[in-house]
């Protein structure tokens, strides 16, 4: 069975991206991998007490992302009757989505056009545009 990877966050465009991917998955007999990436850099500067609590913080961030972002998206896939899997990753969102697609031997990546990044996206460009430029497999950007 072939796999489609959908990068999701807390935005409406993400919901539409999942709906789009689920519909294609039904027709093509695909498995849907929903991934949320918590923005994180291995080269940031932190205080010692932030470091002390980092491992616990990661667990909390992961649980929160599952509960608030991935669970509602998984419902869409569940209702659509397609096999699905949910992942929370930490890293640079565009690179991490490509890595996940590589690990899952995916045939396609789907993302919403605008995410919940707000100012960060306005300044540094959206995850969608980075994916379109850097991914080595087809990317669909859902408006």
């Amino acid at each position: 069975m072939e796999t489609v990877v959908v990068g999701v966050d807390n935005s409406d465009a993400s919901t539409r991206a999942v709906e789009f991917a689920v519909e294609r998955a039904q027709r093509n007999d695909w498995k849907v991998v929903l991934v949320h990436v918590v923005p994180w850099s291995p080269y940031s500067f932190q205080t010692p007490s932030e470091n002390e609590h980092r491992a616990g913080e990661k667990e909390r961030e992961t649980a929160l992302a599952r509960e608030q972002i991935l669970d509602p998206m998984a419902d869409i896939a569940e209702k659509g009757g397609v096999p699905h899997e949910e992942l929370v990753k930490h890293g640079k969102p565009s690179d991490t989505i490509v890595d996940v697609a590589g690990d899952a031997s995916a045939v396609h990546i789907v993302v919403g056009r605008t995410g919940d990044g707000g100012l960060r996206e306005a300044v540094f460009g959206s995850v969608a545009s980075r994916l379109v430029q850097h991914a080595h497999l087809p990317v669909t950007v859902v408006p």
């Binding site: 932190q46 205080t47 010692p48 470091n51 609590h53 491992a55 616990g56 961030e61 890293g91 991914a135």
Partner: protein, 483 residues
């Protein structure tokens, strides 16, 4: 008796004990400095000159070449190193070096660099042990450092009671070091700098330096008691930037005086072995060089081990290799830059050097080429001082937590005491502050190094077995994902 007088008396008593010196060739050699240098030399030989064999592995580890991608989101080697370095790089690199050269002449630089290179081995040993014996708490947080390896490591060898005593002694000294070198010295020098740029003796702050101390205490209090993360974050982000700016400014001064570089380097070497006009001659230069290097890079004191122990790794040895870079960055790079700048501009020959004090001397050196730089330096000093205070308040808090079973009350009492000393430090004279800071910080090396010597066989085992596994290819780099 007012608090400042009281402190001056206390400082004198403690200093005379800790810096008990023997007279060699007319120079007073404090035994505690010998203690640290011998440890550096011992671990250099014992671990097989890892300073020479290991740096490539260290850098690969910092770059994440051995990090499991599934560990993304946890503390990386880079982050642990950056946090430890920002606690270490501070006034020792600016003021301490200036003091060393004004007392020991250019030759002190040579001994400082040598002490930095030896310190790499000690730092490697203590930070590896910090990771190996760290404690993981139920909420996922970690506590590590000499308290834990002294207690648990020695207990494993049947020295349970000795381990507990050493661990508690270490914790007490680290609290003292946090309050002294990690706080009062920082506050003192930062205040001096602020007074200097606002007009020196004519400054409206000259008669009321404690006002600056109060502002520092308020800001530090907002971070460590109020949990205002934004202040800490801003500092953590600006400090590396300031460090780079500082090094660039040093390079500008050096390039400006490029024709004098050979003479400066010559005077560093000749001054190391046959200095002119230095009390105690070569031994005098060696002592101040070693002493300032130890104060600056903290190798053998065990403090950095606390900061490094939060790293995510399954192999304690990895953090040893990473931590080894710290004395290199701190002493061999940054301190040497300061030293060259001071030597090349001749700032240390100022007859009033001892009265001017550390930062002013460095400031004068920059002023000869970059007239506007003293203001930037003042900002850098204040920020370095502040980030060092934040790091040391954490070390002190962890030590307090260790002694009182992680009691919140005890930790908060410590934080208040810490802030009170921030204010006292701003008002006290430089001499007693430096002496007290040095005493407390150096005392940490007593229990720490005793423990490291006893556990030396284990340290060598862990470090060399990891190194051998990397050499043999058993430990592989993580494949770079294809984008």
């Amino acid at each position: 008796m007012n608090p400042v007088e009281w402190f001056n008396d206390l400082s004198e008593g403690v200093t005379n004990t800790v810096f008990y010196s023997v007279s060699i060739a007319g120079a007073d050699l404090p035994l505690i400095v010998v203690w640290l240098v011998v440890a550096g030399a011992f671990f250099t030989v014992w671990l097989g000159f890892m300073q020479v064999r290991g740096p490539k592995l260290s850098i690969d580890l910092v770059k994440g070449k051995y990090s499991d991608p599934n560990d993304a989101g946890e503390v990386t080697h880079f982050q642990a190193l950056a946090t430890a370095v920002s606690g270490t790089v501070g006034l020792g690199n600016i003021a301490g070096v200036a003091i060393a050269i004004s007392l020991g002449g250019p030759g002190a630089t040579f001994w400082m660099i040598l002490a930095g290179l030896l310190g790499m081995a000690t730092k490697m040993a203590e930070c590896m042990m910090g990771v190996k014996y760290r404690r993981r708490h139920a909420d996922g947080s970690v506590s590590g450092g000499p308290m834990y390896y002294l207690r648990d490591g020695l207990a494993d060898r049947g020295y349970g009671t000795a381990g507990k005593v050493l661990a508690v002694l270490f914790a007490i000294f680290m609290i003292g070091g946090a309050v002294g070198g990690g706080n009062m010295f920082q506050s003192n020098q930062a205040t001096a700098q602020i007074v200097a740029v606002t007009g020196g003796e004519d400054s409206f702050l000259a008669d009321v330096p404690w006002v600056v101390g109060l502002v520092f205490a308020a800001l530090a209090g907002a971070v460590i008691i109020g949990g205002i993360k934004s202040i800490a974050r801003v500092t953590e982000k600006i400090v590396p930037f300031m460090a780079v700016l500082y090094i660039l400014a040093c390079i500008v001064v050096l390039v400006w005086n490029i024709s004098s570089i050979p003479t400066a380097i010559g005077s560093i070497f000749s001054g190391a072995f046959s200095p002119e006009g230095v009390a105690g001659g070569a031994i005098g230069a060696l002592i101040v060089g070693f002493q300032r290097a130890a104060f600056s890079n903290e190798a053998g004191l065990g403090s950095a081990s606390v900061a490094h122990s939060a790293v995510k790794t399954e192999e304690p040895a990895t953090e040893g290799f990473v931590a080894m870079l710290e004395p290199f960055i701190d002493t061999v790079v940054i301190c040497t830059m300061t030293a060259l700048t001071i030597v090349i501009t001749g700032a240390y020959t100022n007859p009033d050097a001892s009265e001017l004090g550390g930062v002013a001397l460095t400031s004068n050196a920059f002023e000869t080429v970059l007239p506007w730089f003293p203001t930037v330096l003042a900002v850098a000093v204040v920020l370095f001082a502040f980030s060092t205070m934040i790091s040391w308040s954490y070390y002190g808090m962890k030590a307090t937590g260790y002694m009182f079973g992680d009691s919140r009350l005890a930790e908060n009492v410590f934080k208040v005491v810490f802030l009170v000393f921030t204010v006292i430090g701003s008002a006290a004279a430089l001499g007693p502050v430096i002496n007290f800071s040095d005493s407390m910080i150096f005392l940490m090396s007593l229990p720490n190094l005793v423990g490291l010597y006893i556990m030396a066989p284990e340290i060598r085992n862990v470090i060399s077995s990891y190194f051998d596994r990397v050499q043999s290819g058993e430990v592989q780099q993580v494949a770079e994902p294809v984008h």
